[in-house]
């Protein structure tokens, strides 16, 4: 596939990004701006975990933990050096990417369930680290935690209002999706496709399996770091409860429900994860009901829709197009 060719799905993504950029901030009240910003951050994180699952069949149950790591670095850099937000975000993403690589190296010997378990243990380890040492709040030393009130967080100069910050998140989410798509269309994408079919065949064809699998972990880590950094920027502080290992499991399950092969699958997953509970809250219904809905969605995906809700939408569109073609 040519690098710059825009598919119909790509056009849909670009149009949706344009709508999200122009329309959502103009129409949404502050409550929904806040919800959409969170949703945007988690869309990026889900995109990372979906991409690993769809392209390589690898299950990572540590994505939210890595997101917390990105948020930790973001807060630490913000309070320590006063660098521009963008520099902190890039550094947070790179540090998380390197951590993704480091985590991937021992995990590379594992496959399937065992790989998932190793990543889950990593998420558990991160959860304990966050709960024990807490997130930086402007203190000194390596951990950057001080007693009492947190120091103020500096948002990007371009996005000091919630409306502008939502636009900022939309642009970065778009860049993240383009990064994944560019990888898919270039050499790593071809290598991943071969690895997914057969590691032995890929190796026989000269593909460096360890390198490309590690690279994929790095990309997922990078996306998690960006997502965590943006979430930290949105709230100005983070809490360990957001990054529990159980959240990583949940987000992977939702990636399956949403549809890991499609960009809008990640969006559907993040919508279920953040917008659905907010809607329930807003209607005065206990947001824990969303877990029941997630469970039903997962059953639905496992039994009838292996490509998730996004796959069903794509299937329905394809069927409609085929019916139109036959009619004409």
């Amino acid at each position: 596939m040519r690098l710059w060719h825009i598919t119909p799905s790509g056009w849909a993504g670009l149009i949706f990004a344009a709508l999200a950029f122009f329309l959502f901030p103009a129409l949404a009240g502050n409550l929904w701006l806040s919800v959409f910003i969170s949703t945007g951050c988690f869309t990026i994180a889900v995109a990372g975990v979906s991409f690993m699952y769809a392209r390589l069949g690898m299950v990572s149950l540590t994505q939210v933990g890595l997101m917390g790591l990105g948020g930790w670095v973001m807060l630490r850099l913000n309070h320590a050096y006063g660098l521009p937000f963008e520099v902190n975000l890039i550094l947070a993403a790179l540090v998380t990417m390197v951590c993704g690589w480091i985590m991937a190296l021992p995990a590379m010997r594992m496959r399937g369930l065992y790989l998932a378990l190793v990543t889950l243990m990593a998420a558990g380890g991160l959860e304990i680290l966050f709960a024990t040492y807490q997130f930086p709040n402007g203190g000194d030393g390596f951990w950057g935690v001080k007693t009492g009130s947190a120091a103020p967080f500096t948002r990007p100069a371009l996005a000091t209002t919630p409306e502008a910050y939502l636009r900022y998140v939309v642009v970065i989410a778009l860049l993240c999706f383009l990064l994944i798509e560019a990888h898919r269309r270039m050499k790593p994408g071809r290598a991943w496709a071969m690895i997914r079919r057969s590691e032995a065949a890929a190796m026989a064809a000269g593909v460096n399996v360890t390198f490309y699998k590690t690279w994929a972990f790095g990309i997922a880590g990078l996306l998690a770091g960006v997502a965590g950094g943006l979430l930290a920027g949105s709230l100005g502080l983070l809490d360990d409860a957001t990054f529990r290992a159980s959240e990583s499991v949940l987000i992977f399950a939702l990636a399956v429900v949403g549809g890991a092969r499609y960009w809008y699958g990640a969006l559907i997953a993040a919508t279920l994860y953040r917008i659905l509970p907010a809607l329930l809250n807003n209607w005065g219904v206990d947001a824990d009901l969303s877990f029941v809905i997630f469970g039903a969605g997962l059953l639905h995906a496992v039994i009838t829709a292996p490509d998730g809700i996004a796959g069903q939408i794509a299937g329905a569109l394809k069927a409609r197009k085929a019916a139109k073609g036959r009619a004409s």
Binding site: G29, N30, L31, L33, S34, V35, S38, E127, A131, T132, Q134, N137, G139, V145, K146, T147, G148, S149, A150, P152, P162, L231, S234, L235, G236, L237, L238, D239, D240, A241, T242, R244, R274, A278, N281, N282, A287
Partner: protein, 417 residues
């Protein structure tokens, strides 16, 4: 003669009963007995109700008081539309709650807030929107160290100090182990102040911290026990405090230490919950007046709760604090020009102008002022858990610590000292 006296007493009983009924009727706002029917004045409130603690008692009590105000003429005929959100101990939800109540809704103020999370996330939002928060169940430093939040409760730092001060002076404590939550602006902040107090008086102290997400009470208790302390300060929400006491009872540690706690253990359900083993052995700091003080405001609080709250709503210190915040807020609105009560900036100014309000529920005057920090309540009672309730062991007393120097200076400036 004796028979005549008995008859007189019997004859007086219906009148006494009627009088007690009259006393039990709540007094709120304009106290007209007429329901308010004008355009509502929107007031918000945020609490945190999720594991590991329920901090909704204050908003429940504030809601009861506002319901009572609305049933008694409202604010110059206008009812208060009190809208409460739950942050569920989640920073994202806390930000969303404030966005909804402060930015999307024209709330003139927030009243009765109680949380471990929301004040840290939203202090900047409140400042930017110039909205005042008359909180009631504050537990973190941002509640007391930011310009737009003022609370009727004391929070863990003063309440811990009060308990530690009593333990040093009356129980002979020389080394205090504080079991707090591993939250920098809550457990660590408040335990550290108690340790510093002990050290400044030639004693010593340490802290054992619990992860609020997965609290292991046995580990924290053992850490406290092994610290060499003679006094254990249980700086926890009531549920976790009870779990720690249960673990200590299983190890029969009661007589090896002095047991002290800040105000979350002052709740009428606690004496039964801790059981006979602990009766007479746990000393609790009460940030507001214990129930037996029973002054006019205390009686009115109970009457308001009985008439307008749900039976299951707690009758504890935080509920008292919620009642007081709502009462002071209502009085402030009623003193304003009726044309200004929808104007958030003017309501904020009126709240900042609050000075020297008194109540038998509080040891000192309530004030706000125009400062970057607020902590009007820094004196309290000390009580002991006994069978069926609490026994006052020390009446109103001021807590000693350098932390309060700026507050004393402001009180002096305002003529309150």
């Amino acid at each position: 003669m004796k028979q005549t006296k008995t008859l007189a007493v019997l004859a007086a009983l219906p009148f006494a009963f009627a009088a007690s009924q009259a006393m039990a009727a709540p007094s709120c706002g304009a106290n007209t007995g007429q329901a308010a029917s004008g355009d509502p004045i929107i007031v918000g409130g945020i609490h945190g109700n999720a594991a590991p603690g329920d901090f909704s008692a204050a908003t429940d009590a504030a809601a009861a008081y506002f319901a009572c105000v609305n049933a008694n003429g409202g604010i110059n005929g206008r009812p208060i539309d009190y809208r409460v959100e739950n942050d569920q101990w989640n920073p994202e939800l806390a930000a969303q709650a404030a966005a909804k109540l402060v930015n999307d809704t024209k709330s003139v103020a927030l009243v009765g807030n109680g949380s471990f999370i929301e004040m840290a996330v939203n202090a900047g939002t409140y400042k930017d929107a110039d909205i005042m928060v008359m909180a009631s169940a504050c537990a973190i430093s941002e509640c007391f160290e930011t310009p737009n939040i003022v609370s009727t409760n004391q929070g863990p730092l003063p309440s811990n100090l009060g308990a530690v001060m009593y333990a040093r002076e009356e129980l002979g404590a020389t080394n205090v182990a504080c079991i707090g939550l591993n939250i920098p602006n809550n457990g660590i902040w408040s335990c550290e102040a108690s340790i510093n107090y002990m050290k400044s008086h030639g004693g010593d102290g340490s802290m054992a911290l619990l992860n609020p997400g997965a609290p292991d009470v046995n580990s924290a208790l053992l850490e406290a026990v092994s610290s060499g302390a003679d006094t254990i300060l249980i700086n926890q929400p009531a549920g976790l405090a009870l779990a720690i006491l249960k673990a200590a009872e299983e190890q029969d540690l009661r007589d090896a230490f002095n047991w002290i706690a800040p105000t979350p253990l002052y709740d009428l359900s606690v004496p039964d919950a801790v059981g006979e083993y602990w009766h007479g052995h746990i000393y609790v700091n009460a940030e507001l007046a214990p129930f037996q003080v029973n002054g006019p405001d205390a009686q009115n609080w109970i009457a308001v709760m009985d008439a307008h709250a749900r039976p299951e709503d707690p009758r504890d210190t935080f509920a008292q604090a919620g009642y007081l915040s709502a009462k002071f807020f209502t009085e402030t609105l009623m003193e304003m020009d009726p044309a200004d009560v929808d104007d958030r900036a003017k309501v904020s100014d009126a709240i900042r102008a609050i000075k020297g309000k008194t109540s038998d529920l509080m040891c000192g005057p309530y004030y706000v002022g125009d400062a970057d920090f607020h902590m009007p309540n820094h004196a309290g009672y000390m009580v002991k858990i006994v069978e069926g309730g609490y026994e006052i062991v020390r009446e109103c007393y001021e807590y000693e610590a350098a932390y309060f120097d700026p507050h004393h200076a402001i009180e002096k400036e305002m003529g309150l000292k």
